[in-house]
Amino acid sequence: MTASGAPITQLVRAAAAGDQAAWNEIVARYEGLVWATARAHRLSHADAGDVAQTTWLRLVEHLDRIREPEGLGGWLATTARRECLRHLRLHGRESPSDNVDLFEAPADDLPGLALLTEERDQALWRAFARLGERCQALLRLLVSADEPSYAEIGAALDMPVGAIGPTRSRCLEKLRALVGHDPAVQGGAA
């Protein structure tokens, strides 16, 4: 069976019956959403990993009772968000700083900047890191690998779906301005 193009309903049913290929396809489809949700809550790399793992274990334990497989992305995003809140409530943030921006994360924690050799990439990364928390969170979700729906993004960030479009425009405008003001970039945004 070719799992990669299969409808989610079929994948969930197959995975619940123990089909590892179907399960791997579900993981491939949604791992970007789960990871982006954890990172959007500004958890460290290690803490985000813990939250993502717990989220996948919760899906496994619920696999045979998923009533609406079409809503799986929203369920995963909601579950990941709740795990983030639980983690923050119990452990707080690893960093004492309230402004854990990715740009300043330790090199071994997040390769980030070191991997980006192009000036333009570095400028964009710096600009992204200077955005407000809400903008970073929303943009991170918007560009997560699986192109989540607005419903899924709303579930991940506890944001009304109707607010996503306007916030997206505003955040991109800010990002563009920040990149444009970066001295390393001539001529502003491409």
Partner: protein, 159 residues
């Protein structure tokens, strides 16, 4: 209008490529997620997490008594498990209650890989007490001998 939309899409695509390289899903998370399917225990009945005081709203937290205990409740179709966790200096004490109380039951704390970290007999009122030397991701597994029943496993909980 469509120019703005195109510019927005272009910037998002750039950001997508950037984050894909700078902060991808870690391989160990992918491997863990894939392996998790194989750790299902199909013999057990799930006791689902219903409430966790760690997720209380601030208002609800304020009305609770002042100590630092964490309360959780789990429900399976046949059994309820109420748990209080007291954490001190890295040691976690789990005080629990099974409802209805089985005449004979063992409660285990399991690590993610199925290892039993601690076990205790429930008393005739269904109460049990377990001590864990470390935190982490665990679940409770209840083995009911009298009346005999399928094992009941709680949702995962992170200490």
């Amino acid at each position: 209008m469509s120019n703005d939309a195109e510019r927005d899409d272009g910037l998002l695509e750039e950001l997508r490529a950037l984050l894909g390289r700078a902060d991808p899903v870690p391989h160990d998370v992918t491997e863990f997620a894939q392996a998790a399917l194989g750790w299902r225990r199909l013999d057990a009945e799930l006791a689902e997490l219903l409430t966790d005081s760690a997720l209380d709203t601030d208002a609800a937290a304020l009305t609770r008594s002042g100590d630092d205990g964490r309360w959780l409740s789990f429900r399976s179709p046949e059994l309820a498990i109420e748990v209080e966790i007291r954490s001190e200096a890295g040691t976690h004490t789990v005080l629990g209650q099974l409802e209805p109380a089985p005449a004979a039951a063992t409660v285990e704390v399991q690590a993610a890989d199925g290892t039993a970290l601690a076990a205790a007999e429930a008393d005739p009122l269904g109460r049990f007490r377990l001590t864990l030397a470390a935190g982490g991701r665990v679940r409770l597994r209840v083995l009911r001998r009298d009346p005999a029943g399928a094992p009941v496993e709680s949702s995962w909980l992170v200490l």
